[in-house]
Amino acid sequence: MQIDVKWRFWLPVGLMFLVLAGLGLSKQRTVLTGDTIMLRTVPVDPRSLFRGDYVVLRYEISSLDLGELAFGSRLGTFAAGDTVYVVLEPDGTGVYDAVTVARRAPDLAYGQATLRGTVQSTFGAAPQQTLAVEYGIESYFVPEGTGREIERARGDSLRVEVAVDGGGRGVVRQVLVDGEPFVPGGEAPTPHRVDAPTPQAPAQAYPYPYP
């Protein structure tokens, strides 16, 4: 059977477009349908070879002390590479904190959200083990040369708005400085404590390409 050159050419090219669309739409689905949570963060400013300047976002939930979390000490000893689900609840300011962890997707109470992460490294052993966890939301890409602006605003004034779907997958929507969306090249923010917006009223101007 002879396959026409048109098919031999355009089928693999079509596969490339499918990969691109799949990559974008899987994330866009989380952005559109996921719950919104707010997390405290501390950024630093490195550079990616292919994707430009970004800030590395470290969260309070990046380090989990199992002994301090409900049921955390009952889960046995975690190892690097294990999947962990962190159950989050908002505090009085609307920022989410970890309340418990699970090895499988947990049933959530009203107002709770869960983030799925991968254990990067561990310290100690159960029941007092501490986990370093990565959630896939540790990078925020910024226009070239503006990473330092966010870094200058480190401290309590920085929040990250994250969309989380039912499976615990998170996508960073935006970084908030003093409660306002970060605008590159704007007025240098000054670090001081502010109350972040509540999760019921997230900012809606998401700069995403897929409507």
């Binding site: 059977m1 050419f9 090219v13 990559l23 866009q28 990616s48 292919f50 890409f141 910024v142 390409p209």
Partner: protein
């Protein structure tokens, strides 16, 4: 003259399209090395007519164009246009990496999708429409594949996917390789093989932040050897992908020899050495993967070769297995030994020269000689740096290099001219 018309007026023998393509490739090689003249190449090819029965037959290219691809102006055009595509492609990646705030994300996505479609569309038109420019068309197809990579990184940037996530590079490989095979496009194959190596290193670096240089080297050695074995496999039978053999083997030799070279340093195996590869020890996983993968690939090559029409001892497949086993043992519980890897390294370098000479492949001769020379220089620094006064060290080194380069050039020239006049 019509290439498929017999010079003697006889009806040409009908052979499969893939077999014809293989023959055309061989004739191109013979003509490039000076074994036969242009007239002879035309006459030989005119004895055969390709049939279009193969499911993935690659369009026959006229023999003069095929031959020109490797020598003369055709090669220059191919190289220059490919270079242009590479510059444009990496320029696009850097453009989107700059993350211009004036361009909203949807416009960047629209821009890159349009660029990918335009590059592939123009490449298709130029390569396949009669009377057009197939070499420039090939370069535009390569450009489309580079734009595709830019599209992946742009999407990951827009959705703030973690910067250390290597999945984008893997998606690049997965997208490029099918097109490389359906078009028998060596540039796309090279891109796919390089992005796969990048992904491999990225995963290793990400997964073993406290890990060992030895693991890293073992994986790259395994990948390089696997490429060599796969290249050997591609060249075994006539197929549209027979020319891929050189691409696989060239990249594989360079990667494997580079990894082996680092293993020749004593510091790689010392706990507190400046390379300190053994400081945390090898997990053993990498060499196990290496052995399994290579045993499978080289074993298959060996079987195919022994059951072929003219069974001969597959030296290259055997060499791949031997190096894999030695490297596996060397990086595992037996403990690494710079002496062992020096023996393997210099034997492999000379082996590559010998294989290049026997197979009439100048690129292999050059790669082998290069790594041999680099190895000699490295050992000179290792052994004499502490033993000699600096002035004597550099003067003696300079003398050795000049005399060595004379000897190298003489033997290289003799081998290459022997290949050409064979």
């Amino acid at each position: 003259m019509n290439e498929t018309a017999s010079v003697s007026g006889d009806v040409p023998t009908a052979i499969s399209g893939s077999r014809w393509q293989w023959l055309a490739g061989e004739i191109r090689r013979w003509r490039a090395s000076g074994m036969i003249t242009e007239q002879q190449s035309r006459e030989i090819l005119a004895q055969y007519a390709p049939q279009r029965e193969s499911a993935l037959q690659i369009d026959p290219v006229p023999v003069d164009e095929v031959a020109e691809e490797h020598t003369g102006p055709g090669r220059l055009i191919a190289v220059v246009s490919a270079l242009g595509a590479i510059l444009l492609g990496f320029g696009a990646i850097l453009f989107f990496a700059a993350n211009w705030e004036t361009l909203p994300p949807w416009s960047k996505v629209a821009l890159i999708w349009t660029a990918i479609g335009a590059a592939f569309g123009a490449g298709y038109y130029l390569r396949y429409r009669p009377g057009n420019y197939p070499r420039v068309g090939n370069s535009l197809i390569l450009l489309g594949a580079l734009f595709y990579g830019a599209g992946i990184f742009l999407t990951m940037q827009i959705f703030n996917m973690n910067a250390d996530n290597p999945v984008g590079v893997l998606l690049w490989t997965i997208g490029v390789l099918p097109l490389a095979y359906t078009l028998a496009h060596r540039g796309l194959l090279g891109l796919g093989l390089l992005t796969f190596l990048l992904w491999l290193g990225w995963v290793m670096a990400d997964g073993s932040s406290d890990g060992s240089l030895v693991d890293f080297l073992a994986i790259y050695l395994a990948a390089g050897l696997a490429y060599v074995a796969l290249g050997y496999q591609h060249g075994l039978s006539p197929s549209p992908w027979a020319p891929f053999g050189g691409t696989y083997r060239g990249i594989g030799m360079i990667v494997a020899m580079t990894a082996l070279h680092v293993m020749t340093y004593g510091s790689t195996w010392e706990v507190d050495g400046w390379l300190s590869g053994a400081s945390t020890g090898s997990s053993g996983l990498s060499w196990a993967i290496a052995l399994c993968a290579l045993a499978a690939v080289a074993g298959a090559s060996l079987l195919l070769r022994l059951t072929a029409d003219r069974p001969t001892l597959p030296w290259e497949a055997l060499a791949v297995v031997v190096i894999a086993v030695l490297a596996g043992l060397g990086t595992s519980s037996f403990g690494g030994s710079a002496i062992l890897f020096n023996l393997v390294y210099f034997a492999a370098a000379l082996g590559i020269v010998a294989v290049g000479y026997l197979n009439a492949e100048p690129y292999a001769v050059n790669i082998g000689l290069l790594f041999f020379a680099v190895g000699v220089i490295a050992r000179y620094f290792d052994f004499f740096w502490d033993l000699m006064p600096r002035s004597v060290f550099f003067m003696a080194g300079g003398l050795i290099l000049i005399v060595g380069s004379l000897a190298l050039e003489r033997s290289r020239r003799r081998m290459l001219s022997s290949i050409r006049s064979a």
